[in-house]
């Protein structure tokens, strides 16, 4: 093994400031836009908030998955995953504007057409309390892992790996439960009369897919330079590509299961959700999702050569990040278009870019704080061996 210290390079600092300025300028433009169309701003803001919160949470979940299962694939992306999980703090901060936007986003604020039981759950104070609890739990998890991982770098304390493993099991359960509830609150309640019991898991699957695609893109970028170019080989990319394929299949499986159950049930409170997403041009978005979110990545990722090729896998992962945004658009935005016709407001693109810029800046800043590999991990040398 070459005796390198794996200090993050200058390019990460450059990325941090570029992302920051892109994010700051985009957000500034959108805040100006908010004075003209407050409702549209908050609806677009929800999109950006959901996409980037999901990215951080997905990264945290994959990190816990790696602590439980170990393996070389996770060792090379652990630091990016940890940095991404610390961005949940930024998203907790960015939830505050959303709290003011609740009346612009959610129709249940009007209390019309809902039963007494629903209103006991869907009201602004309880909604805000629940969201605060979710963020508190996630931040606790993210920073617990983060501080253990930092201590591991210097202390050489073998018990830390055990601690992280012990927390990962319950951590994944806690993440699944809280994220299921959060997906009901933040997304499903956009249409308060509709419910699907598989929905929380579908959102979680999507987050894992986003996070895996993001980790692959970051790893491919990092591995194009010293020092990680010495370490990261086709073996690591192959495993990460297999996991990406897994998450593509999980998303497709859960999405189709939801459709099939609702199709088979054919109930009046369930089918409007799909009817809304099948008319007024939304059908084309849905068909694009079937093609680009499942069939194309599925067949491409079957290829062993593609999974072992850094450039091809990186490009596909970047493509998946775009398709994930399209999926979120298809799930969320039809609820905002009263006429039921497909529409694309410029803020629906610019606000997610703005939040994304700020998110990436915080991510890069966090990535620079520590070595690019968990140097104190006893299993690290195994992960770095050549094929």
């Amino acid at each position: 093994m070459p005796s390198l210290t794996y200090v993050p390079g200058e390019e990460i600092r450059r990325m941090q400031w570029r992302a920051f300025w892109v994010g700051a300028i985009a957000m500034a433009i959108c805040i100006v836009g908010a004075f003209f169309s407050r409702v549209q701003f908050f609806q677009s803001y929800l999109l950006g908030f959901l996409y980037w919160t999901g990215m951080g949470l997905g990264c945290m979940a994959i990190m816990m998955l790696h602590h439980l299962t170990s393996g070389a694939w996770g060792m090379v992306i652990r630091r990016p995953l940890e940095s991404a999980s610390r961005t949940i703090a930024l998203m907790a901060l960015l939830f505050i504007p959303l709290a003011f936007g609740v009346p612009s986003i959610y129709s249940w604020v009007n209390r019309t057409g809902l039963s007494q039981e629903q209103l006991q759950y869907l009201n602004v104070p309880f909604f805000l309390i629940r969201s605060a609890v979710y963020f508190a739990v996630w931040l606790l998890l993210a920073f617990r892992f983060s501080s253990w991982s930092q201590r591991q770098d210097t202390d050489n304390d073998a018990s830390l790996i055990r601690k992280m493993r012990l927390l990962s099991g319950p951590g994944l359960v806690i993440y699944s439960l809280t994220m299921s509830l959060a997906s009901v609150d933040w997304i499903m309640s956009l249409e308060p009369r509709w419910y699907s019991t598989i929905f929380g898991l579908l959102v979680i699957g999507g987050q894992l897919l986003s996070a895996m695609a993001f980790a692959i893109v970051i790893l491919v970028l990092l591995a194009s330079r010293q020092p990680l170019s010495e370490i990261v080989g086709p073996r690591h990319l192959h495993d990460l590509g297999k996991l990406l394929l897994t998450f593509v299949m999980i998303w497709a499986y859960l999405s189709f299961s939801q459709l099939l159950l609702i199709w088979a049930g054919n109930l009046t409170h369930e089918i409007p959700w799909y009817l809304r997403r099948w008319h007024g041009g939304w059908m084309w978005v849905g068909l694009a999702l079937i093609l680009f979110h499942f069939f194309i990545p599925f067949f491409l990722l079957l290829s062993q050569d593609l999974k072992r090729n850094a450039k091809a896998l990186g490009l596909l992962a970047a493509f998946m990040l775009v398709v994930r945004a399209l999926d979120l658009y298809w799930v969320t935005v039809p609820e905002f278009s009263p006429a039921g016709v497909f529409h694309l407001h410029w803020m629906n693109i610019l606000v997610p870019i703005g939040i994304g810029g700020l998110w990436l800046a915080v991510f890069a800043w966090q990535l620079r704080l520590r070595p690019l590999l968990p140097l104190g991990d006893p299993q690290l040398h195994q992960a770095l061996e050549h094929e």
Partner: protein
Amino acid sequence: MSQQKKIYGVMAEFEEAGELLVAAHKAREAGFTRLDAYSPLPIEGLSEAVGFESTRLPLIVLIGGIVGAIGGFALQYYIHVIEYPQNIGGRPFNSWPSFVPITFETTVLCAALAAVLGMLALNGLPSPYHPVFNAPRFKLASRHRFFLCIKARDPKFDLEETKEFLLGLEPHEVCEIED
């Protein structure tokens, strides 16, 4: 030409998986192309080392899968739309979401059958006789020894030279195999 015994190849026996891997690489470097390795456990990189070329099996599996997908869907379409149409809760006869699970199952079934049968067809199994079993200690290949065989079909094959080459790799033992 030769009236005496016909030779299938020369077999070298190794004690370690790593030695077999190194030996396979050296044999390839020396220009041998028709070689095969036998090991009780999978060794990463060994199939590349013996010059394993990709087969037509993936194509056979793909065709099996496509036949299964089309066949499965067509079967359901024929039953539910043409032969025995039933109004089930007002859904269209071509109730395609309900057809997907069965279509998926028939796809997997036909692809798996194509994989197994195609594999057997391509590698010539079941085969009641194979010359490598003439090597006296070959049964150890399923226990703790590793074997490398250079076949007589190899254009570079010469009984004595190949034997010498294999002995140069410091194996546990080298033996000729009758066909």
